[in-house]
Symmetry: D2
Subunit: 116 residues, 4 copies
């Protein structure tokens, strides 16, 4: 884990401990909270066209940034509870994806992830 | 953005570009994909007790790590498309939360987030 | 509750009882399972354009129907556990929405739900 | 489709048409909105124990009923746009599940859905 994410993780530990919230932070509950936060992020985009989603007004952009922050904060807490090194896991997944979706067979196909 | 996340973000850019997948990666679509991935993570916990979720078998732990990785990878791509500095946004959100949930009023309350 | 939904609800009760699955079906767990199923439904649409989503191939249409069915089955089980009359609740919500979004102020606005 | 759900579906059609909201209601967008609503429902349960989720206070119960209503209303609109008969799809899925999870092999197993 790199130093920025490590530092955020430690701040989150202190934050929960000071409020005695660790009792609520089982991995099961954190996974639910993480899903709720991503849906709040999705809510900002649900009625936009794809084109509109590429050109957010500044106020909307700031709201989306705050929701993205919430997603990261719950993801870090979940990984902390489970002893998962998030950056290492992401690197491994990226390497696996490179094998799973070879450039020559995947180019430009919208069936990319689930249906190849 | 710190160097590990920056490096992952650049790898993701190259990955999508090589496969001509940028056409699919509107912020709207990435927000949907992010939500789908968090739900896949939640699926691992849905029938477990909180206690079981704190003590995952090694095989389950590895599957959860791979789903957490997917969540981070989509979150980074979404922030990259929108020009959001994810680590900075997380630090700001943590500072806001410290104001919103003062230690003396929030201690041990399960109503913590939504109902105070 | 009308007779078709009542009949489905009773079949679901028998199904869970015969398998001794009631122990897993707390409202909390059913709400998580419901969210997971809607995300599986969303997954079918995540990389499609809106236009493509209006013209699904027959095989995709059948998969979406099966996911929609799963959503209804978990929603009925959740409402059954909580003693909620789903059709009555839906009628009440529709009446509330008619007050919340008056025709003359809501026409054609994409800000419709969250931002008016 | 039975008469209550048919009647709700027709009311939803009139509601969207009167507000010129049909332009926003592509299946893709409705699937996103459906997911957002189920996450709002899940939010009510995320910090509760399973036991607490079985014994909601009356005010919370009413909020959950309103969220469940929203889930049904979007699900009906999605099925209407796609020409899916929701009740028939649910009956078919229940029949498939009875084959997939035979009573004698599924009894009392928390691995029930995904891992058998």
């Amino acid at each position: 884990m790199n130093s920025d994410l490590q530092s955020l993780t430690e701040s989150l530990r202190d934050f929960a401990k000071a409020r005695d919230w660790e009792q609520f932070h089982s991995p099961k509950n954190l996974a639910a909270a993480l899903t709720v936060e991503t849906a709040e992020l999705l809510e900002h985009f649900q009625w936009l066209t794809e084109e509109q989603s590429r050109n957010l007004p500044a106020a909307k952009q700031a709201e989306v940034a705050a929701e993205a922050a919430d997603v990261l904060l719950y993801l870090l807490q979940l990984c902390d509870k489970l002893g998962i090194d998030l950056v290492q896991a992401a690197r491994q997944k990226l390497a696996l994806n490179a094998e799973k979706y070879p450039v020559d067979r995947s180019r430009g196909s919208s069936r990319k992830y689930t249906e190849i």
